[in-house]
Every structure is written in C-alpha cells, then in structure tokens.
Symmetry: C2
Subunit: 303 residues, 2 copies
DNA sequence: GTGAAAGCGCTAACAC
DNA sequence: GTGTTAGCGCTTTCAC
C-alpha cells in the first residue's frame, strides 16, 4: 500500500508543502550564514563548507551578508529574526558579538560560531589557533635573519587581529626584538587599507626588511605598493600574508602565508549547529589545524 | 487601536510566522540562485547583485551551487523543487539548459536568466554582448600590431565561450588574419586548465605574440606559465583575459580584460524575477554594458 | 491495518 | 470599526 501511494505520488510529481510541514514542526529548515568579510574567496569557502555539511540534509542555506554588525548588532538580530531561521552560522566578527548571541538566545535561534574568541561554551564553535599561526609566520621571518619589521593590522573589531598580533609579539620577544622598534600600521583587511598602510611604511622612517600583513589581501596590496615603489620582493623586502586566499597563489612572487581552515571550520560549525537543532549532544569547541605555507615572497634580508 | 496592537507586538517581540503566512499565500518567499562557476569573485558578485535587489523585500536568497547541470539537469531540477522556491535565478550555463527551463515551467517555479543565449523570451533575462566585448579585445591587440594569436577557450558547455570566439574571429577576419593560423587550445575556465593550455602553446610550434584567454583565471594562469617559461609579459607576449575579476587587478602586470557587468546582470535579473512573481509586466531582455579595460599585460609585439 | 479529526499560525471574508 | 470563522496542507492522535 505504502509503495503504491509512493508510486502514484512520484507519478503526479507530488512534493510535500514545506510550509505546512514547518507549521507543525515549528521548523523552517532554514539555516543562515552571516559574514561581512569582503574577501570573495573567504566568503565562498565559508559557504562551501556549510553547504558541504548540509548536503543531503533537509536544511537549506540562506546567505546573510551584513556590513557592520559591531556597529549595529540590533540590525543583524532583526535580520536574523525576520528571516525565520532555525539556526545561524556566525562568521567573524559577528561570532564574538555578545549582544548578538544574547538576542539569539532570547529569540531561541540556535547558532554556531566560526573562529570565536569569547565565551567558547556558547553555541557550537569551530576555530583555529590564530596566535600560534601568526607566531610561526614571524618565526619563519626571524629564522631568515630579519630584524626590522613592519606589521599591517587587520580590522580591530575582529579579535583575530589581536590574536595574530600577540603571536607576532611572542616571536619577537623570543628573538629579543624590541617591539617598540616595530613599525605598526592600522588596516582593516581590505586591499585598499593594505595599500595605504604600505605607502605610509615606505614613505617615512627606516625601511623594514620584512612586512607581516594580517591577511592576504593587504599583503598583496603591500606587494603591489612595494613594486610601485621600485622595490624587489623578496630581494629588498619580504612580505608575508595570512589566509592562503586564491590571490596569494596568483601573485608574483607567490605569497608566504598561513592556510586558514575556513572550509573545515564552516563545515564543523554547521555540523555542530545541526546537532543542537536535532538536540543531540554536541562536541566541545573544535580547534582545526592551520598550515604554514612558505612561498616566494619571503627570503633572507639583503646584507 | 492599530497603533496600540503594534506597540504591544513590538514589546512582546512578536514576529509573524512565515510558514503560516506562506501556507495561505502559497509562497515561500524564497529565491534560489544557482551557479557552477568556480571563480569566487564571479559567484560573490552574482550574490551581491541578487541581494542588492532583494534588500527591503520579503524574499530571501538561497544559494544553490550545482556542479554540472548540463550533465544532470534532472538533479538540478529536483534540487530546485525540494527547496520549495518561488523563483530561481539561473547563472550560466544553467540559464541555457532548455530541459531545466521546461521542468521549471512544469513545476511552476518562476525563473530569471543571467547571460542566456537561447530562447530569450523565456523568463526574465539580463545579459551582455559577449561577442562585441571579445571583438573589441581582439581589435585592441590587432591595433597594437599583433598578428600571431593563440586563443584559450572556456568551458564548451557555456555558450559564452562560443560567442567570445565568434567575436575574436570577427576581428581576425576584418584584419585579414587567417584563423587557420591561430593556435586554439581548449580550457574550461579554471586556473588549472589555463595553465595546461598555455604550457601546450609554449611547448611546440611557433610562439604567438598575443594570447586571448576567455576568462581572467585562465589568463592569470597563462601569465604565470609564461613567466615560468622565462618570458616577459607584455614584452615577449601579450595576454588578455575576460571578466575583470579581482585577480586581474592583483597580478603583475595587471591584466587587460573586459569588465562583465555581473553585479548588474544579477540585480536586473532578480528584479525581473520579482516582477514575474508579483505578476507585474516585466521588461524585455536587458543587455548591460561591458567595458574594455586596457591595462599592462598587453603591448605592441617586439620587432 | 484504515479512516477521521484536530490543530499548527495566519489571512481573508464576512457579519455585526 | 470590531469580532468571528473557515481554511491553507500537513502531521499526529485516536478510534475503529
């Protein structure tokens, strides 16, 4: 009997009405993904990871870019609420916005957090060790013989910026390099900000032999700015990035960087979210492996 | 009275249940976006355009990457059906898959098509003139004095590959260049395929002075392969791409290319889809403007 | 095993 | 204006 009904349903091209199902189950089977990162490859990796985990599940993915969540947490929350989501995957920096998490708790929307730094017991978490990754990058440059450094910082609303800076400082301290001598310029993870920061670095004061940019977009900007300034990379100046974004492989020289496990973090975080939604016990915060990628943009300083 | 109810609703943080609303209106207020393009910047532009148009509307965007729609149109359709969409925006090459359009018609799912080449009266359409854009690129190189060409083709399941090739051929014909002498290599729009194609071009036969790659990813690959081969770009060989993707601005030299109005096409197509859904009369197929971007990867051939 | 009925949260149509 | 009611398509429960 079941079989016959199914057969006829198939024939009539019947599909159950999701709204009616949702009305009873009090579920929308909709999962959101919020991000504000400008970098396309980061965004796409995030989506790929989430979709990978969602493949074969009933849940569908809604993309919710939101420009400046730190400045307008309420705006984000109301976006999330009106979207009628069962759960949401929060990418940095929203993953560390406590007002957002509070509102989500109140609205009974489950959440997973990518690369959070605060309150790791809230929601499903997947992250990497930014500090250790940054340290290994700085140690690599120190190992090559560099002593004059410049640092281009990322968006200060991302805790990752702080963690990465800590990592650099640890490496500097171990090598006896005075952080007071390190040229530090503020950026915000965009290409334009990296370009501006590098131009400031090159326009005044003693020129560093190595630049640590907190992401690849800014590192590539620094690379282009150095070249426009007539410098050879890595001959005159070494430049390292962070992310292993697509562009880091497409520049010349190819960028030394750290591979962030963005895809994996998104996949694991989404899996954790599903566990919460299905009321299964979910795992402790996952820390996923990064990878130091030494390519051609870093070399020993010229004597 | 209305005011008082609204005030209390606000206070109680009331949000209407989307499922219940959808049950009556027979709408899910969900719009899908399908694509299979590997290039992150293309995908993100597509999403940005669609989201831009959807901002302030009730509709939400579901992303539906589907790897090989040409080989499995039924798979795509069943994905679309189970997602309970009101409508879908089809990016190439799905926008030209007639079996998919037929199935969508049958399932009563509205659709908009980005850069279609077939049956332009079906669905809402937004496109650009690939052929004219390709022709202007080839004319630019011919104008610089090039006569020995190589072409790296894109994915043959995309009609755009064909249109762009037609544009090149028109320019060649006008300049009296025998197409039989043009080296043509097959690619599929990926970086890896561009790399392979360029290595084949450089490994045998007479070396061309200019290479026309059908997208930027392949052009960048060609650039890198040329450099690995010890060639100076544009001194020894000129290379042009297609797309104005992010990477085209980040390479050295920066790529000569054509800006595809991807964002605008997505925005306009999504607008057309909304018109169909709201049963408003919708506009004729829109052809949006492209732009020739002459940068540093093309120069006159060496004497 | 099969069938009938209630109700999920909302909207639209109607009566007052 | 204000209140009542039917019903959207499904699942779950309970009766047979």
């Amino acid at each position: 009997m079941r079989e016959r009904v199914k057969a006829v349903a198939q024939e009539l091209n019947y599909h159950p009405n999701v709204n009616a199902q949702g009305l009873i189950s009090r579920r929308s089977y909709l999962i959101g993904l919020t991000y504000e990162r400008p970098s396309p490859s980061y965004v796409v990796e995030l989506q790929r990871g989430a979709l990978q985990r969602l493949a074969g599940e009933r849940y569908r993915l809604i993309v919710l870019p939101f420009p400046n969540a730190a400045a307008d947490p309420d705006g984000l929350v109301s976006l999330l609420r009106t979207a009628a989501l069962d759960g949401v995957v929060l990418a940095p920096p929203s993953s560390d916005l406590l007002p957002v998490l509070d509102a989500l708790d109140r609205a009974d929307i489950a959440y997973a957090r990518i690369a959070p730094h605060l309150d790791l017991d809230r929601g499903a978490c997947a992250s990497m060790d930014d500090q250790a990754a940054a340290r290994s990058l700085a140690e690599h440059l120190i190992g090559l013989g560099h002593r004059q450094f410049a640092v281009i910082l990322g968006d200060p609303t991302h805790y990752a910026s702080e963690s990465r800076l800590k990592g650099y400082r640890e490496a500097f301290a171990s090598a006896g390099i005075d952080f007071g001598q390190v040229r530090v310029e503020q950026g915000d993870f965009t290409y334009a900000s990296g370009d501006g920061a590098m131009r400031r670095i090159l326009s005044g004061g003693r020129r560093p032999t190595a630049v640590l940019a907190q992401n690849d977009d800014m590192a590539v900007a620094a690379l282009m700015a150095a070249r426009d300034h007539g410098l050879d990379v890595p001959g005159d100046i070494s430049i390292a990035g962070f992310d292993d974004s697509d562009v880091s492989r497409l520049t010349w020289p190819r960028l030394t960087t750290v591979r962030q496990p963005v895809f994996e973090m998104a996949e694991v975080a989404t899996g954790g979210l599903l566990s919460i939604l299905e009321r299964e016990p979910h795992a402790a915060p996952a820390v996923l492996a990064h990878e130091l990628l030494i390519r051609q943009s870093t070399a020993p300083p010229r004597k």
